[in-house]
């Protein structure tokens, strides 16, 4: 009855993978539900348009933190993604084995550095010499944090492109660089976007590297040279405060942060699929 045993193993293992998925998705839904349940009442239009108010005054929002987070993420992406992506191209397409090994190893090391240490690093590198906190230094700290995941994920996805595809293009006389740009990268497109979104999601929720760099701000922060508020820092400050009102706002800010990341994610993928079909 070997085949029955195999059938049972097949069924059991496949259902187990379903259970794993359910657990992961369930956790996320639980967190979303929890945030919404505890912070939903603070989600008014004020939240998106007003500055924070002190304890005991209603009608405050986190508009400056929303904009601040957007600015920081923009800056971080401009630093982290190009460097990480091109570094990943190097590892996947050009790297000699021993040097690639060193780069890969270093990437894993940098990725394991606690976020607060990255913050201290950016603090000594930019804030101390400049003598003041700034949006710029916060963006840099987040950008440095993005590089390892960008390198690792783009290498993984570029490598996953089957050799046959490359060989096809090379056989048609394309240079290596041309093959990469016209064949390999488009083939790995979906994965590359996944990597970037995951990366963005990860740094969007970081508090520790911002405390000593972009600091925070109760007011609007014009330009790049002043301290700026950011959602995770506001969440942190409010969540540990004694007041029920602020705690509620912290939960709703958490909910908004997740929705923000979700929106970026969906938009990126929609743009991508539109482009993809137009080209085809």
């Amino acid at each position: 009855m070997l085949s029955l045993r195999r059938k049972v193993v097949n069924a059991v293992m496949l259902s187990l993978t379903g259970v794993c998925t359910f657990l992961a998705v369930g956790t996320l839904l639980f967190i979303l539900g929890y945030l919404f349940f505890h912070g939903g009442t603070s989600l008014t239009t004020d939240f998106f348009t007003k500055l924070p108010t002190p304890v005991g005054e209603s009608g405050g929002g986190m508009a400056n933190a929303l904009l601040g987070s957007a600015k920081l993420l923009l800056l971080a992406s401009c630093i982290g993604i190009p460097i990480g992506f091109l570094g990943g191209v190097y590892l996947a397409e050009f790297g000699g084995s021993s040097f690639s090994f060193v780069v890969r190893y270093t990437t894993d090391l940098l990725n394991g550095v606690p976020s607060i240490v990255i913050g201290i690093f950016a603090y000594t590198l930019i804030v101390l010499p400049q003598g003041h906190f700034s949006t710029l230094s916060g963006g840099l700290a987040l950008g440095v944090m993005m590089i390892p995941i960008a390198i690792r994920s783009s290498e993984d996805f570029l490598r996953a492109v089957p050799v046959s595809l490359r060989e096809g293009a090379m056989a048609l006389g394309a240079s290596k660089a041309k093959t990469i740009v016209t064949v390999v990268i488009p083939a790995a497109k979906a994965g590359l976007i996944t990597g970037i979104m995951l990366n963005l999601a990860r740094v969007a929720g970081e508090t520790a590297p911002l405390l000593f760099t972009s600091f925070s701000n109760r007011f609007w922060s014009p330009g790049w040279e002043q301290p700026t508020a950011a959602l995770p820092v506001m969440i942190y400050t409010y969540a540990i405060s004694p007041y029920a009102d602020w705690k509620r706002q912290a939960w709703s800010a958490g909910f908004v942060l997740l929705m923000l990341v979700l929106t970026i994610n969906i938009c990126a993928r929609m743009l991508l699929s539109k482009r993809g079909s137009a080209l085809r």
């Binding site: 191209v89 994965g191 929720g205």
Partner: protein, 324 residues
Amino acid sequence: MAASSTTNISARPSGRASAFWQRLRSGDDIAYVITLTCALTILAITALLVFELFENSAVPRDKFGWSFLVTSTWDPVAGQFGALPFIYGTVVTSALALLMGIPLGVGAAIFLAELAPTKISNGLTFLIELLAAVPSVIFGLLGIFVLVPALIALEPAIRAVLGWTPAFSGPFYGVSVLSAGVVLSVMIVPFIISISREVILAVPTEQREGALALGATKWETTWDVVIPFARKGIMGSIFLALARSLGETMAVTMVIGNEPKIHESLFAPGYSIAAVIANEFTEATGELYLGALIELGLVLFGLTIIINGLARVLVLSTTKKGAS
């Protein structure tokens, strides 16, 4: 905003492709140099980081030498600092996180890539990636207000099954090394799932069809053909996950109990390197104390080198076994 830079890079260059892309298309050398520069950047950043950590930890390094690594007293008042309990806590919580996170993550990745219909799979992956964006302070708060009570409720069951081992003995207060491991495993799962899923999806269909044609079941095809094919990418995702768990602060410190002592039981409280840095850095004053915290950062760096090395050896040996 992020989307724009993404689409520019990852998609095929359009009509108004910049000069850079045009040169890249024609010149292998230029492409090589540019990508190499980026790869070198990460070495430079890391070197600079290590240099900063080394420079700023001179005072405790001179005072304690290697004994910093093997002593267990952490006394800011008396100026006595030893890193051993933190090293232990970091290693154990990360190991626990991987122990729970890898099967969960790879299992879900298999389901999403091989079994679920594309539309549903894409939707669910969206949600799972969102899990990576939850700020760690929220993980921490949920950890202490939701997970810890749940573990307290589960304690008798865990004891009934595993209570005979020293790892599950002694009193249980809820906050513990075990709780930290569970929170970390939840935090690293999105990295494993979403990267592994993409890598599995990228495995050519012919591979599967071949095995299925030979009469293998779906599971056998997946486990014996698809997974080995995607192994490298999955390992990459696990390395990312490991790194994240080694460096996590806020979520760990909320549930680990923060006691700088080594207990053999996972039910007992502990402490991790990243957690103590985040806890004490903002309030630390004086060169010795601040230096000791920065030296802990250096120790974590060294620890990461060792753990990554060991993990690579492990991967290498299993891969060889698989090949033979």
